[in-house]
């Protein structure tokens, strides 16, 4: 345990210093600097359907050769226990501090601009979010595979702001997917970038734009072609789509869903802004693939149905974790408000109608939190977790949304205006029942 902690803090510090050192001359900054903030605002938030090609992005190439894919080992426990490890406590506390001190103050502006401030994303990279799921021999930060750790960090981030949390975590979904299911060549090609000083903007694209979407019945398809595959279809509400350099795309191969690694530089990919009701800081966009040619090495996880199902389930757990964090933010916000707000000569908290609403927020939040932890801990122990992930998602979708609604309700008219963050949380919390993919734990 001490060696892991040391390992982690040493690494985080090293990366932080390296990041600072290289920051000024970084091509990422140049690229982002070219885009004027105001222009980005109009670009992101407007309803125009300007389609642009995805940026050429970086070239990904293997620096070292691996003989076999690296995987994080898993760890099991036989006792019912709700105590996080020291490492998990340390990580989630530092992430929570970052969320409350950095994300929360930036959230209102980022929501309006449909853009996460680049310096925040850089700072979040320094927290090592993309390194949590990466095996140590590939430069990762944590020795054991732990969806629970990722859940705790996601929850902590979303306490600051859900939209910014999605923007920060989107690249981690890709690094985790490559760590879990990538072969030795895929890992050698892409993972070094996610543990380096310049984390690529990356995203896991699953959702498609239609009602009753089922991630196991995809309309985005891949057909075999000489030397590889050809990808066609549309992906909706992809986090950080416009500056994405690398995507993992869910597409049906011969009628069965599978995952493909798609570099933004591949020809035939169009991106258009797709701002939504909430999580706007994640700069959601729609990706259209028109006969995009992919190399044979693009198939991730060998079209294994179990891999794909796990990917969907881990994504659902991630959204439940974000819901836990944002619902906690609602609870933390309404408690002092109802105690300070007076009506008819006393604090409104003295009324059962108000107080019971607060109780119900706490009860359903705690139930959702435990269900989310259970799903993640089963994943860590190599047990089946499809059922537990589905139950956590159901709780998050229903109770998360009602907590968001109660948050506004308890503030009355004040909850409906942007002076208070409950207005944004109401919009953000609807995402949980809608989103598939985008994140992984």
């Amino acid at each position: 345990m001490p060696s892991q902690q040391q390992n982690l803090s040493e690494r985080s510090m090293a990366i932080g210093l390296r990041a600072l050192n290289r920051f000024a001359g970084s091509p990422v900054v140049d690229r982002l600097g070219l885009r004027d903030q105001a222009e980005r605002f109009l670009y992101g938030a407007s309803k125009t359907t300007v389609r642009t090609a995805t940026s050429a992005g970086r070239k990904f190439a293997a620096a070292q050769k691996l003989t076999k894919p690296a995987r994080q080992p898993t760890k099991a426990s036989d006792l019912f226990d709700l105590t996080p490890t020291d490492e998990q406590s340390m990580l989630s506390e530092s992430v929570r501090d970052f969320a409350l001190e950095k994300l929360r103050p930036a959230a209102l502006g980022a929501d309006a601009a449909c853009l996460a401030p680049p310096e925040l994303l850089t700072q979040s990279n320094d927290l090592g979010l993309t390194m949590i799921g990466v095996p140590e021999e590939l430069g990762g930060a944590v020795s054991e595979r732990s969806a629970v750790t990722a859940v705790l960090m996601s929850e902590a981030l979303a306490r600051g702001d859900m939209g910014l949390a999605v923007a920060c975590l989107a690249p981690a979904a890709v690094s985790t997917a490559l760590s879990l299911w990538g072969d030795e060549d895929q890992q050698a090609t892409y993972l070094p970038e996610f543990v380096g000083e310049r984390i690529p903007a990356a995203s896991l694209a699953v959702l498609e734009p239609r009602a009753l979407f089922d991630p196991f019945r995809l309309e985005t398809t891949v057909r075999r072609a000489p030397g590889g595959y050809v990808l066609s279809g549309v992906k909706a509400l992809v986090p950080r789509a416009s500056d994405g350099e690398l995507f993992i795309v869910a597409a049906a191969l011969e009628g069965r869903p599978a995952l493909f690694i798609v570099e933004a530089g591949a020809g035939g990919i169009a991106v258009e802004p797709e701002p939504a009701m909430g999580i706007r800081a994640a700069t959601t966009g729609r990706l259209t693939f028109e006969d995009v040619e992919l190399p044979a090495s693009a198939l991730l996880g060998g079209a294994d149905a179990k891999v794909y199902a796990e990917c969907i389930q881990l994504g659902r757990i991630a959204w439940s974790a974000l819901t836990v964090g944002t619902a906690q933010a609602v609870l933390d916000y309404v408690i002092p408000y109802v105690k300070e707000r007076t009506a008819f000569g006393e604090p409104i908290a003295n009324r059962q109608a108000v107080a019971f609403a607060v109780s119900n927020i706490a009860i359903e939040l705690d139930g959702l939190r435990l269900a989310t932890y259970r799903a993640a801990s089963r994943a860590d122990q190599g047990k089946s977790f499809a059922r537990e992930a589905a139950l956590a998602r159901r709780l998050a979708s229903v109770h998360g949304m009602s907590i968001g609604s109660d948050g506004v309700q308890l503030l009355g008219g004040h909850g409906y205006v942007k002076e208070h963050p409950v207005e944004r949380w109401y919009r953000d919390l609807r995402a949980t029942g809608v989103m598939e993919g985008g994140l992984l734990v």
Partner: protein, 413 residues
């Protein structure tokens, strides 16, 4: 390390409880639902078996008496020592909620009238001194709190206790005493001085055959008919002063805490009862649903499945939340962590989820669910009490709100 699966060491305990539920409870469920007020003699044999298992440690904590704060951890010694080592305890509180839930999968009414496993036993286990534990050990103790004019508002109790020499003399009326006619002892809540409010409320152990305590009647109920519910009149009922549980002093500001502490232990148990009933309903509905050709797919979005499948998923999710909240409250008690908030949250969630799930299962199963040919309609009647006794839904929400908001009972009424 965060892990929400149950330890293997409880497999045997749960297996035993399941056998009891399947072999003794279920076959007698309908019989005693119909024959209200008839004592289920089958339970005498079972009680002997359970006592034997308790002594061998196999079924430790199978009933209410098992839910107790670890005496050594109460003074902080063993709990903080184990916390220092970074280890966690899965002890008698967790064992109790698991076995109670399992037995209630069989029948909650029969569990409530299990000899020697009354809620009074929990009170004695939680607050009795060593001498009292010796004297009352092995006896069946019921709990008498509610009065015609004081239900959830237990501070408004009118039954009085006055000290005369070496005896307390009790006067008043008690209603809704579970197993009151069958138990050996009744733990009676009474006030030493009604002008001093809740601080003056104490609990007294009264022998069932005390001539000053007269049975008024047995209630006819919506459900849990296997368990009798007695009303008593106390007239100059004399008990030795050594039968007072806890401190005899009226300590303003904290006197009530000792009495209320019992609830931190018993609320997770009632939550566990609701879990048992809910699981019985879900399992039965799953079988009926399978016969009807409805398949649940945990991977497909609920909205893309049939309404019957989506409804089942919704019920399972609420069951999961209630179950984990209950395990959390018990785990905290096992590890010496204050759990008033979590105990009430578990009771609130499990109480309402139990009733809701049972009623929806009846509707999902149609005539099969509503008819007396199956047990679903009975479970739906049984479940309702679990959202009422040991503190109604509304009382739990009040407890939770006062703790979260830092409000006194005078501020948040």
């Amino acid at each position: 390390m965060i892990n929400l699966e149950l330890p293997k060491k409880f497999d045997f305990l749960i297996g035993q409880a399941h056998s009891v539920a399947a072999e003794v409870m279920r076959p007698n469920s309908r019989k005693y639902d119909r024959a209200e007020h008839t004592y289920p003699v089958e339970l005498d044999m079972l009680a002997a078996v359970i006592n034997g298992m308790n002594e061998s440690g196999a079924l430790s904590g199978a009933g209410a008496a098992g839910a107790t704060r670890d005496r050594s951890s109460e003074n902080g010694a063993s709990a903080s020592a184990s916390a220092d080592r970074g280890s966690t305890r899965n002890g008698s509180n967790l064992a109790s909620v698991l076995s109670v839930a399992e037995v209630c999968w069989g029948d909650v009414g029969l569990l409530l009238t299990m000899p020697g496993q009354g809620l009074g036993n929990s009170a004695i286990a939680a607050v009795a001194n060593e001498e009292q534990l010796q004297r009352f050990g092995g006896k069946w103790a019921a709990m008498a709190i509610t009065e015609p004019e004081a239900g959830s508002d237990s501070a408004a109790i009118r039954t009085t206790a006055r000290l005369e020499g070496d005896e307390y003399v009790l006067n008043g009326e008690k209603i809704f005493v579970t197993s009151g006619d069958r138990a050996d002892l009744i733990v009676v809540w009474a006030s030493l001085d009604r002008s001093q409010g809740r601080a003056a409320i104490k609990s007294f152990v009264v022998e069932r055959d005390n001539p000053g305590m007269k049975l008024d009647r047995l209630e006819h109920k919506l459900g849990i008919r296997a368990s009798d519910t007695a009303n008593f009149v106390l007239e100059e009922c004399r008990v030795p002063k050594e039968n007072l549980l806890g401190s005899p002093e009226i300590e303003l500001g904290r006197g009530f805490a000792g009495v209320m502490q019992t609830f931190d232990n018993t609320r997770p148990l009632v939550a566990a009862m609701a879990l048992g009933v809910a699981r019985a309903c879900l399992v039965a509905t799953r079988e009926r649903r399978r016969e009807a050709g409805v398949v649940i797919d945990y991977d497909a979005p609920p909205l893309a499945q049939s309404a019957a499948a989506a409804e089942f998923l919704a019920m399972e999710a609420d069951y999961e939340a209630a179950r984990l909240l209950t395990l959390q409250a018990a785990w905290m008690a096992d590890n010496g962590k204050p759990n008033s908030l979590q105990a009430s949250m578990a009771k609130a969630k499990a109480g309402r989820a139990g009733t809701d799930i049972a009623l929806r299962c009846v509707a999902l199963c149609g005539a099969v669910g509503y008819g007396e040919g199956e047990l679903l309609e009975k479970w739906a009647r049984d479940a309702k009490i679990l959202d009422i006794f040991e503190g109604t839904q509304q009382i739990q929400l009040l407890v939770v709100a006062r703790l979260l908001l830092g409000k006194s009972s005078a501020e948040l009424k």
